[in-house]
């Protein structure tokens, strides 16, 4: 992550919103498990991870609001944008499916974020580096936790293995989008703020590979990768999620705790 080219306020805001939206949307998805997990420990674990993600989203939205400088605050960014304004990756908004599906999605996202946060700890942007220093350690717990479940289910009973394999099939079209590169991500990389996602694939593979090997899972190549999240083109799943997420702020605009 070399380079210290200047970055525009617009590019930095766009980058921060992508990260923030990923974390908010996935955090919300995880929180949907609260009270429905297959066992008590998981009923604690998933909301705990959701809390980490939403906490990270909050730090990112606060910073995005400050950088944007248009008088919007974290709540307005999180709760009153329209669906097409959200720039999260499509994987984050996918429905939870069964427990295997949720754990694999969590594992993928954590395996994508861990090398990203690690690089950002030495970012030219000190504020972001501070957020990353904490998030890097939090996400390491997510990798371990979700990774253990991928192994346990993949290498478990006939049914658990069938479900984990189905999850690998179902999520395969959403992996490549994580590593997409565009004008925003390149400007951010050139400024030494964060690495371009396209450079993170080897690190992701190095995390996922050994876990898949232990779980007895095969990587599924997909000819039709889904894309569009970073441009605000989402699947229908996001609309339903936002309807719930935004309900309070839409019904009682500006309400506070």
């Amino acid at each position: 992550m070399a380079g210290t080219a200047a970055v525009s306020r617009e590019a930095l805001t766009a980058f921060l919103l992508r990260l923030a939206d990923d974390h908010l949307i996935l955090g919300h998805r995880l929180s949907e498990w609260c009270g429905h997990a297959p066992m008590l420990e998981e009923d604690l674990a998933m909301p705990n991870m959701a809390l980490d993600l939403i906490g990270q989203a909050r730090s990112l939205y606060q910073y995005a609001a400050e950088v944007e400088g248009r008088g919007r605050d974290e709540d307005q960014l999180a709760y009153v944008r329209r669906e097409r304004d959200y720039v999260n990756c499509l994987m984050a908004e996918r429905q939870n499916g069964d427990f295997a599906h949720t754990m694999l999605r969590q594992f993928y996202f954590a395996a994508f974020m861990q090398p990203l946060w690690q690089a950002v700890t030495s970012s030219t942007d000190e504020h972001l580096a501070g957020i990353a220093a904490k998030a890097e350690k939090e996400v390491a717990y997510h990798i371990r936790h979700a990774g253990e479940w991928v192994v346990r289910l993949g290498d478990g009973t006939e049914e658990s293995s069938r479900r984990m394999k189905a999850a690998v099939e179902a999520l395969a079209p959403y992996v490549d989008e994580l590593f997409e590169s565009d004008g925003v991500s390149r400007a951010i990389a050139e400024a030494g703020i964060a690495p371009d996602p396209s450079t993170l694939r080897p690190a992701f593979d190095a995390i996922v590979g050994p876990v898949f090997a232990e779980a007895g899972l095969d990587w599924v190549e997909t000819p039709y990768g889904q894309t569009g999240g970073r441009q605000g083109r989402h699947g229908e799943a996001l609309g339903f999620l936002l309807a719930e997420l935004q309900y309070m702020q839409r019904t009682y605009p500006g309400m506070r705790w």
């Binding site: 420990e41 674990a45 809390l51 980490d52 906490g55 504020h127 998030a135």
Partner: protein, 182 residues
């Protein structure tokens, strides 16, 4: 004339140093008030024990306390900030609380006294050396806070709060919380 000036200067300097001393006393008093605030989730330890309180400075009559979040999403952060404000106000100061993110808090900032208090409260204190990701997961040696045995097993990575994992002692069979290394 010269003498008069000298005496004006020395009285000014006396006023100045008296004011300085007053500021130092105020700051120390404000620090003590803020430092006594306990963690809302773990009332056995104060925010000074946990290393959450970075410092208190006086800006005129305003006492500015700097606090740092433990876990990013820890809901106790807001409760702690409000409690610090209340404690400073009660001590007679106009309070302001600032949240400091960088450098990031780590469990290494918990004082020795804080670690001992955690143990006495039934929570195994975190392993040291949180600055290494490897060390974060080298948690094979978590001692039971009740009997001290190292024969313990992790029940769940995530516990009742963001900062804790759930363990069980294989010797005395007591379940206990482990303050996660971060």
């Amino acid at each position: 004339m010269g003498e008069a000036m000298m005496s004006t200067q020395s009285s000014q300097s006396a006023v100045h140093s008296a004011r300085r001393a007053g500021e130092v006393r105020s700051r120390e008093r404000a620090y003590r008030a803020a430092a006594a605030v306990v963690d809302p989730e773990i009332p056995a330890v104060t925010i000074a024990d946990l290393g959450i309180l970075r410092g208190v400075e006086m800006e005129g009559d305003v006492a500015v306390a700097c606090v740092t979040p433990t876990y990013t999403g820890c809901p106790a952060v807001l409760a702690i900030e409000l409690a610090v404000e209340a404690a400073l106000r009660k001590a007679g100061f106009e309070p302001r609380v600032e949240r400091v993110i960088s450098p990031a808090w780590t469990t290494d900032w918990i004082t020795e006294e804080g670690r001992e208090k955690l143990r006495a409260y039934g929570i195994a204190p975190p392993a040291n050396a949180s600055n290494s990701i490897r060390a974060l997961f080298g948690e094979t040696e978590v001692a039971c806070p009740r009997c001290g045995s190292l024969e313990t097993a992790r029940v769940s990575e995530f516990g009742s709060t963001a900062c804790k994992a759930l363990y069980r002692c294989e010797r005395c069979h007591e379940p206990f919380d482990y303050f996660k290394c971060i």
